[in-house]
Symmetry: C2
Subunit: 327 residues, 2 copies
């Protein structure tokens, strides 16, 4: 972040309030950092969240057909169990709540603790853990793979399942299926600047690229000179394709996600080359998302996510949602 | 831009192709840099455009209820008269075409030349020139005020007018009315990097802010140390309010527009403070837009736009559009 905030303690609540006033249909639960739909439907509740700094995740995915609540922690900091519990209580309509958790040790611990507290109150709670980042097996903040932009596909498809009235067990089955079929990898051309310290999250000389970065300023798995974009895109696509065992005539949803400071013009070029590579492999692109879905403050870079579809996932993906950041 | 493009000559067409494949309903006219709706309605045609580097402007505003075509020049370079003529020909359904032109000398000249060529072919063409930037009276690239993010409100409202079947003269009247009532001002915390040279558009030491910047890397009108965000936002709102003679109980649409590298988290904080200032003035906010609408590659900064509404503009603003970048 580059801006001097007059009251850093209020950074997240001010941000959420600006967001909520710009999006009718959302509200902030008073006294919390929880964003909820102002009108809840009689259905299974969906809750996600995590540290702030990844906007539009997750508040931008609250709305008809996606999440019912998003819990925002401080910048790059897991929300507390109590905040998650606030969200669970707010959205439960007696049909239970599914938690969609990105795989970070802090998030998993705090969401699970909240789930236990809610279960003690008689609320049925299930969870899905998303670990779509194929760059690393473990990381600074994770046991197992990190959860990154692919999480948004879980929000969308599980959201459509809940919206049509599926049971908690069915919504969980579908969410788990998406989580098992979604694969992401990213790179950075610059670090992000942490608002707490004003310092870059890692050191990256101009002209170099960090491959396999996370969304919390964790450095990547390797570094190189900036190669032409086609090479970088091919490398990411090929890695994701290998991890997901992509076959000719598979059908996928693609997401080209900007990390925060990458011009949409560049993302468009990335999308063009990524689709050309998938065309070469013979994969059919059912839907392609282009823009900022899961950012890392002002990091320059992008990630590529591929979701392997089947007919069930495809029809749920195509359902209507009114969440402001889905497009 | 930070990315090495394997073929710089194809940067804009590759970007447009990535964009079009991600947005069903759009197409690129073969052999051109013109994006059109794949299906045109029987109505007055709306065309805008300008240099690239401002994405999602203008291709993102092509769709039902907004533009019928957007003409993309090279980065920060006006499209040629011939390209604009291609767009006019493509969208005219015999009811005439309105050109929405941001006030830059090159754009105005080339769009006007295209209008004359089209009129010679028997197509009725009108134009509206948008000059919403209150920071400067003239600039590097302009006689008179520059056209910036407020242009998007002209697309939206004139688009709704055309979509409901208004005549060319009526669509022009409404577009002129919006242009006369829309006011913007921006600031930058960093310059953008020009892909042609790899150099920053102006020199701005860390910790300083450039007030009144344009969207082409033109430097601003003055420079200062970074002040707390509330002061910066108040300054922009107050200037825009004075220029638009905003009165207590006026009703407005507000846009908080990111310049390319500003995290959405920061834009949310800006929106919160901007709305608080308008609340103080006693102005009613009918609608608030938050995000990237008219960028300057990877410049860090934001602009604030205020549109003074009346009942006619309000109802057109609220009409449905399917253009991908309107939200």
């Amino acid at each position: 972040m580059n801006i001097l905030h007059p009251n850093p303690d209020r950074l997240v609540t001010d941000m959420l309030d600006g967001f909520v006033r710009s999006h009718p249909g959302l509200a902030r639960l008073p006294g919390t950092q929880v964003i909820v739909r102002s009108q809840l439907d009689q259905k299974v509740g969906l809750v996600s969240g995590g540290g702030s700094g990844h906007e539009p995740a997750h508040a931008g995915y609250v709305g008809y057909g996606m999440l019912d609540a998003a819990v925002a922690g401080q910048i790059f900091t897991s929300p507390t169990p109590n905040e998650v519990l606030n969200a669970i209580r707010a959205v439960d309509r007696g049909l239970g709540v599914l938690l969609i958790i990105k795989n970070y040790t802090g998030d998993v611990m705090n969401f699970e603790m909240a789930a236990e507290l809610a279960q003690d109150e008689g609320i049925a709670v299930e969870k899905v853990i998303v670990a779509d980042d194929v760059a690393v097996e473990n990381s600074t903040f994770t046991i197992g793979r990190r959860g990154v932009a692919g999480t948004v596909f879980v929000h969308k498809i599980a959201g459509a399942s809940a919206q049509r009235g599926d049971s908690l067990q069915e919504v969980k089955r579908i969410a788990d299926k998406v989580a098992a079929r979604v694969f992401s990898m990213g790179l950075a051309l610059s670090p992000c600047i942490l608002p707490t310290t004003g310092k870059p999250s890692f050191d990256l000389p101009a002209g170099e690229v960090e491959i396999g970065i996370g969304i919390h300023g964790e450095p990547g798995v390797r570094r190189g000179s900036i190669a032409p974009l086609t090479e970088l895109v091919d490398m990411l696509i090929d890695r994701v394709a290998a991890e997901s065992s992509l076959q000719k005539s598979d059908e996928v949803a693609l997401m080209i996600n900007g990390m925060g400071a990458t011009p949409l013009a560049e993302l468009g070029v990335c999308a063009h080359h990524a689709m050309a590579r998938l065309d070469q492999i013979g994969v059919k692109i059912h839907k392609s998302l282009l823009g900022e879905y899961m950012t890392s403050l002002n990091m320059a870079g992008f990630s590529i996510t591929v979701l392997k579809l089947d007919s069930e996932l495809k029809s749920l993906l195509d359902e209507t949602t009114h969440a402001p950041a889905w497009r």
